[in-house]
Subunit: 268 residues, 2 copies
């Protein structure tokens, strides 16, 4: 199955929550902390509890890279586990990459072939040829940063261009001109409902990944209602800390599943 087929299948089942495995060893339940393999074991328990309810999983490279080569091995084992439990669930490698062409080709090889992700995230600053090697993988989806959920999104993303539109809208417009909808995703923040309402028409047909629900203040039900009103089904709301750290006790996996079910109800 292509990444687009996997996501569309979950959307057809009414699932729109992406579980972000931002696994921080300082926040996982204390009984894991003596384990050499704590990150993988924590992920495994979360995945086993949530895989029937998740639309997708997202692993942010930073949370694995900061543990050296062993952290990268834990990331790979986590992707392999998800694939073995349910090959119809897409896994996003949230790496926000972008480099000159021959170098982006190496990153694409790493994300898609070595680590086995279905989807990537990319940073657009360097332009088309920095993105092309990722889009050369015709069965994957690349979510490119358009408007992000952090305060710094005002610094450059929202700058007004000479043409009168903000930079992030020009990024979205060019991405749509360059790449087919089956491969193009966009990252758009979930923290401001009005922004989303104003821009929803421009996002039509594309896969949209929405960070910022939960710890960053966005509301899953608000986001869902904007997409449903627009008849747009291809939205994926990321929830990381609010799901995986829903409880710091031994019931963490059940608590994560319960939190995911609440979010699924809010977005149904």
């Amino acid at each position: 199955m292509t990444a687009a087929e996997k996501l569309d299948l979950k959307f057809s089942e009414g699932k729109h929550i992406c579980v972000g495995l931002d696994t921080d060893p300082l926040k996982i339940p204390p009984h894991f902390r003596g384990e050499a393999d704590a990150i993988y074991l924590f992920n495994k328990a979360i995945i086993e509890a949530t895989i029937g309810e998740a639309a997708a999983y997202k692993l942010n490279f930073a949370f694995y890279e900061c543990h050296g080569p062993e952290g990268m091995a834990a990331m790979k084992r986590t992707v392999d586990l998800i694939r073995s439990l349910d090959p119809t669930v897409a896994v996003i490698g949230d790496a926000k990459r972008g480099d000159i062409g021959n170098t982006s080709a190496m990153y694409a090889e790493a994300i898609f072939n070595i680590y086995g992700f279905d989807c990537s995230t990319l940073a657009p600053y360097m332009g088309k040829d920095s993105l092309d090697p990722f889009f050369a993988f015709s069965d994957r989806i690349n979510f490119v940063l358009v408007l992000t959920s952090n305060p710094g999104s005002k610094d450059f993303e929202k700058l007004e261009l000479g043409s009168g539109v903000p930079l992030y809208k020009e990024v979205a417009r060019k991405l749509k001109a360059w790449y087919p909808a089956e491969n193009l995703g966009m990252v758009f923040r979930a923290t401001n409902k009005t922004d989303l309402e104003n821009d929803i028409a421009g996002l039509a047909g594309n896969f949209i990944l929405l960070p910022g629900v939960g710890a960053q203040g966005g509301s899953a039900s608000d986001i869902s209602s904007v997409f449903r009103s627009a008849g747009h089904k291809r939205f994926l709301i990321n929830a990381s800390r609010s799901v995986i750290f829903a409880s710091s006790g031994e019931d963490f996996a059940v608590a994560a599943m319960n939190e995911l079910r609440v979010l699924n109800t809010q977005t149904a």
Copy 2:
């Protein structure tokens, strides 16, 4: 020594060439290819031959990440080797990172503490709070993308803002307002001498990393003459493929040293 002290020391010795260890297993001499540890062994030979002439080394994460966790281990051993041979040579982790604050903090931990780099490269799209966690390391330098050497630099970097300046100049202006010169580097392409002449005044005082010499068509002597005319000493010209793959035979390390000496003469 801080990263700024290391670079300023090399600049005071007239050294301005950064050796880019973009080590591609398909391009290294055939006698390495049977070796399990080929990437590290190739790097070791290049470093031992060039360390007396290099201003700095740069490792692009993509070339190591695409070999899985073992590639990351080879990257770390390479950084450790440079440090052990000459602790006054700065090593740049070319990762072009940038994410929301708590995630950028994880990347900064990886680049500076786990892998031990003196300097990073960062992508500016997400704004100040995506960069701050890297600049919190007051003894390091972060080279932020300003104007890059690839064709796609025209797609967003060169877009004219409502204020009349291109985006990349606004990025440079804000970076200078946000961060001290001892920590702020900028990536500026070496492929267009006229661009550099027009912008050199705006780069005053900052560390400038210039990609695009050699395989991408830029001239080290042209670049050097622009900086010297401006009385600007803090420039670092990256050379990757043209140095490390100067010969595909068993004389590759000597050939790399000879090529580096030629570049040093051109920029003296």
